[in-house]
Amino acid sequence: MAIAIKSTKAFERPHHSLWGDAIVRLRRNYFAMIGLGFIVLLAIAAICAPLITHYGFADQHLTEILQGPSWKHWMGTDQLGRDTFARLLYGARTSLAVGIFTQFIVICIGLPVGASAGYMGGRVDNYIMRFVDIMYAFPDILLIILLRSVLGGSIYMLFLAIGLVGWVNIARLVRGQIMSLKSRDYISAAKAMGGMGRYITWRHLLPNSLGPIIVSVTFNVPRAIFTEAALSYIGIGVKPPTPSWGAMIQDGFNLIFSKPYMLLFPAIALALLMLAFTFLGDGLRDALDPKLRR
């Protein structure tokens, strides 16, 4: 009772891959789209900063220091007479890049390391996780300072330093997820069909553990931005006068009682970015759960 099906064309068209479905579901999620929209808008604004404001991020207007918001300076000026709005736009470049590139590095290292530790188990797992524990035992900031002095001061090395310290969290998370999932029946079933270890890890285990990973990554983006801010504060982050939101918040913090708007604008911007990432992360997690497919 073989059924003749002539062309495979019909099967290629309605391609419902996990990701294809996820995008459809994500687009229906109002909040996630707002979050994504905000991030995209901010990224465009950061890239097109010279077109939006005619002030440079390092231009000092020494007759106009520490001013409040006005038509001339929309968000006021800082203690060196630099336009806060311009610095905020240019600073978005640094902060978005720090947030996103460090997480990229974190995933590139943490995911394979955690997945192999979790899947292989036994001795491999033991060695990897003891190393992770050692990394974990040191304060992050100490390791980053150490790496900064080894790697040098460029902004790319800053991403690398934060990424090289941050991957341990993801590795632990992924390992835990994989370990709990690998005893599931469908993993035995995939093995019983002749699946290879690597195939099972990538196709069965990782997609099932994506939810927590994505949530963790989206929450780690603002954390990386804060880390950069802290590093800028102690003078090993972004070199002045290059602006970053973190550095601006630190500047504003010093004058919190006399000139609160200096803190206010970058802080609001950072809070909105965090919220946007959170919405997006939540939306992605839901979108990747096929049970919510309508």
Partner: protein, 332 residues
């Protein structure tokens, strides 16, 4: 002709903190080409572990196949490398798991999961695999297979998922299918349909089937030979007819007495087998069924009974029946 599968004295032990659990302790059986055999016994008697041992899928590192031989087409599966064994799984031997609800990956479409084996073993591309998956879904009786092939497991009912599991198992046309309690979680009407489906498919392709079950009702209908397992050992085997009508081990008789029958008056109470199966870490000396057996004699506590032919082609491991006494047959 040599049988397709010859299981020779396999011992699968689990090393736990409390000691070594002898889940399967010296089990042997043969499966001929195209034959259906049944492994029956209560929960925890080693049926599933003995089946997983054939595929070498016993959960490591705790579980380990200690000794024995599993000859599949004259090749000892226990001597194959991991890669060679991987090529056997799904292609030559496949398994239908007990729980269709958890044996399907929730984030992959049904079609992809069926085509997986074809991609591994037949080098099919994804569209080819999906096309074959559609054909298989139709074969196992899923309506609108061309649409359902893109569905996720949670969009299938329990019975449909089990059908999909059957489709996965038969995808590469294996020579041996192990069905591990395939109908335990579905209702009676679906059970009958699924078993007919499995029976027809195995008949069509001359596939051998190991039917693992604790439902004695279905055994009689589908299996030619029955192997009764108790506490990690086979205690009785023979043709389904012989085992049903003249059980030679009191455990089999007890199992049969605990099944409701239509030909008995309604008021008749079922007779459960009293007590618990023995501790598999430290089994008692002698017969493993002695504590629950109503026909126990002195010898039962001294020596472990071995399988021997009680009547032609009907074997039992029981000291009492080997002496020629079978009081339990009267009562059943």
């Amino acid at each position: 002709m040599t049988p397709l599968l010859q299981v020779r004295n396999i011992k699968t032990y689990f090393h736990t903190q409390d000691g070594v659990v002898k889940a399967v302790d010296g089990v042997s059986y043969d499966v001929e080409r195209g034959e259906t055999i049944a492994l029956v016994g209560e929960s925890g008697c080693g049926k599933t572990v003995s089946a997983l041992s054939i595929l070498r899928l016993v959960a490591e590192p705790a579980g380990k196949i200690m000794s024995g031989e599993i000859l599949f087409d004259k090749v000892d599966l226990l001597k194959l490398s991991d890669e060679e064994m991987r090529k056997m799984r799904g292609a030559k031997i496949s398994i239908i798991f007990q729980e269709p609800l958890t044996s399907l990956n929730p984030v992959l479409t049904i079609g992809r999961q069926i085509s997986e084996g074809l991609e591994f073993h037949k080098n099919m591309s994804v569209p080819e695999g999906m096309q074959e998956a559609t054909r298989l879904l139709k074969l196992v009786g899923i309506p609108h297979p061309e649409r359902r092939v893109y569905d996720y497991p949670h969009q299938f009912s329990g019975g449909m998922r089990q059908r999909a599991m059957i489709a996965i198992a038969i995808a590469c046309q294996p020579q041996l299918i192990i069905a591990d309690e395939p109908t335990t979680v579905v209702d009676v009407t679906i059970q009958a349909q699924l078993l007919e489906l499995i029976k027809n498919i195995t008949k069509e392709h001359n596939t051998s089937l190991i039917l693992i079950t604790h439902n004695l009702g279905i055994v009689a209908r589908y299996a030619k030979r029955v192997f009764v397992m108790y506490a990690g050992n086979i205690v009785e085997y023979g043709s389904a007819m012989d085992v049903y009508h003249s059980p030679c081990h009191p455990y089999t008789a007890g199992l049969l007495a605990s099944v409701p029958r239509l030909d008995e008056p309604r008021k008749t109470r079922l007779q459960p087998i009293e007590g618990q199966p023995p501790d598999l870490i430290a089994p008692p000396m002698g017969c493993s069924f002695q504590d629950r057996c109503g026909y126990c004699i002195g010898e039962c506590q001294k020596e472990t009974p071995h399988l021997s032919e009680v009547t032609p082609n009907h074997y039992a491991a029981c000291c009492v029946s080997q002496k020629g006494s079978r009081q339990w047959q009267k009562s059943s």
